[in-house]
Symmetry: C2
Subunit: 352 residues, 2 copies
DNA sequence: CCAATTTAAGCAATCGATTGCATCCATATA
DNA sequence: TATATGGATGCAATCGATTGCTTAAATTGG
């Protein structure tokens, strides 16, 4: 006799509030109210429900609850890509802030691409997220996509890359100040011919950093040379190439560089080293973002800390407040202060 | 006359299939079937539905669909933390693979902590995810949590850190081989006193890397010294300290180190540099994971590439296949092959 | 020309929890 | 003792889409 072993995925019957209700001879309404700590349920019943729920290993079905109540307890998070430390930290900050409150976080990547951004928002909206925490793409206008959502009443909090023309809550660092203190630091170190790598000026953050750079130069009485403001995306190779151009002619080259990204700065660093140009003696260098690698490279790279995890947490807090607020129309702009991190690449006074 | 501006969040009435049905004088059933390309709907009707849906700016409510159909089109992803490049890349791989198919990805962090792991799984289950792609925590047994889920019929795919005693689909790299080729490479370079940093041996991956290390030594006829197998978590500081111990006595110290993590290796590298011990001349060094920083540090750090984005994509593919397979009981074990990345820290033959 | 078959669409139950309103009973008040 | 009060629970509709079954119309075939 051959017993055939049928391996079937046994979807164990899921426990519903109905089941609990049956067990204790009550109605689903009562069970629901007991589980959600509604008033008007006797303490006895509440305890009874709670214990039998636990005993029966009950797991609430958020989807059913969401359908009826309109609250899904899921938040959408939009990032350009997950594997840049900055955005990974943002996600970390948000997730750890909201998980306590029982919220889930759906993460979507835009890859800085307009179609993928649309797709991301679409997925989030279909999933009926309670709102969205987002950084926009760098290339062009995300404006329409987001304003539509806003019109539909979807709570949105922007972080880092914001759309200035959209009225919404946001968390950013003071990028102007970041650019300013970075440049000022170079000035303080005695550098006078300070260049700048500017990433996409379609993004507020890079415009602001540039503005800070210019302000610091102006204040120091140094000239602003357009040919020393070089477009350079946040990318090592691009930084290398941009540096190649910038430092090509030995007699008329800058003696310092403030890059709007750590990656650009690293590219420049690699180029300068390849040319045996000494850092910080001959050229001072400072980046932006305090990516982990900045403290591992040689020389260690000065940079601007932007408190990414904290930024994520703050965005999450603002978001949650906005949900619970009765008057949800009040937007909340938070500006974190950047911090100068001085390392070897710009510290000429210590290493003269 | 004073017109008071009341800013109220206007939840624009959401369009439902009912609305579409009304507009074209049909029933929701027909609309639903048309939208989902069910057979038995005339091409005329289908087109009519599709165009009016678009015209009315209809957005399907996945939550309602999920409740009825039992498919939420959301996948749960469990990581220890999002801000380690490896895991960030896993998330990237998964997200980019499944977004095409309309799936959302809920990301939860465990922080290698048992309670948070429970919480994570709880959030995911409440959200009625269609399944879970997970790496387990390093400290102790996640076994119960996951076996319970399996019994409930939740599809699970493990990646990287797996539980060998649970029958489930998984994607890993051949960590044994990784440890083996790393060590063999050091042997090839003429190192004979090769130490090893082993992270938590509760995890299969680190056990396997250690096993590979031992196998390579044995094959090379080199002795296995227990005092050169040092416990060292994946962490720069821990690596620094472990190196401090290991290389304390100049006459009897190892001449090479295979660290089971890049972070440990970096710590060791920093220690060795601080002691002016030349790399790779006096001590050879190789890490594991090919974290981005390994190619920025000085000397550049040899390591083992483990194709993290690809691993994420593969896990996602396996997962989706499993969902669509009729016989979902078939588990699928995928083993990716690691790749040796030789850089300066171990290249004694090139830099003699 | 009528029965058999196919095709297209409608009916109504359902998924699981929430919630406004009704009801019942016990206690307090007149 | 009859009535007002309110605390605790039940009833039933609801959220929006899916789906098994039924029905109506159109097509085919004998």
């Amino acid at each position: 006799m051959c017993k055939r072993l049928h391996k079937v995925r046994v979807k164990k019957q899921k426990i519903t509030i109905q089941d609990i209700a049956n067990r204790i001879s009550m109605t689903p309404s009562t069970v629901s109210r007991a589980l959600n700590n509604h008033p008007g349920i006797s303490e006895t019943t509440r305890q009874l429900v709670l214990t039998t729920a636990k005993a029966m290993n009950y797991r609430p079905n958020h989807i059913a609850a969401a359908l009826r109540s309109g609250k899904s307890y899921v938040i959408g998070v939009v990032v350009p890509r997950t594997d840049r430390t900055f955005f990974a930290s943002i996600i970390r900050g948000i997730e750890s802030e909201v998980a306590d409150q029982g919220y889930g976080v759906i993460v979507c990547q835009t890859n800085d691409n307009s179609n993928q951004e649309k797709r991301a928002l679409d997925i989030l909206m279909r999933s009926q997220v309670d709102g969205i925490i987002a950084s926009v793409i760098s290339s062009s206008n995300s404006r329409n996509a987001y304003t539509h959502l806003q019109e539909e009443g979807v709570p949105i909090v922007f972080y880092d890359r914001i759309i200035e023309s959209i009225q919404a809550s946001s968390v950013v660092i003071n990028d102007f100040r970041g650019g300013y203190i970075a440049t000022q630091h170079l000035v303080d170190q005695g550098y006078t011919k300070i260049a700048h790598f500017a990433a996409s000026l379609e993004l507020n953050i890079y415009r602001e950093r540039l503005r800070g750079y210019k302000a610091a130069l102006k204040e120091a009485g140094l000239p602003i040379r357009q040919d020393w403001i070089v477009h350079c995306p946040s990318d090592i190779d691009k930084g290398f190439k941009a540096a190649q151009q910038l430092f090509a002619t030995p007699n008329e080259r800058p003696d310092a560089l403030f890059s709007s990204s750590d990656y650009g700065a690293l590219g420049a660093l690699q180029y300068l080293k390849s040319q045996n140009i000494r850092i910080p003696e001959e050229v001072g260098l400072i980046g932006f973002a305090n990516e982990p690698f900045t403290s591992y490279v040689e020389p260690t790279l000065s940079t601007i800390e932007q408190f990414s995890v904290e930024m994520g947490r703050t965005a999450a807090r603002i978001f949650l407040n906005q949900l619970s607020d009765t008057d949800s129309s009040i937007n909340h702009q938070t500006v974190l202060q950047p911090q100068l991190i001085v390392r070897d690449s710009s510290n000429r006074k210590l290493n003269p």
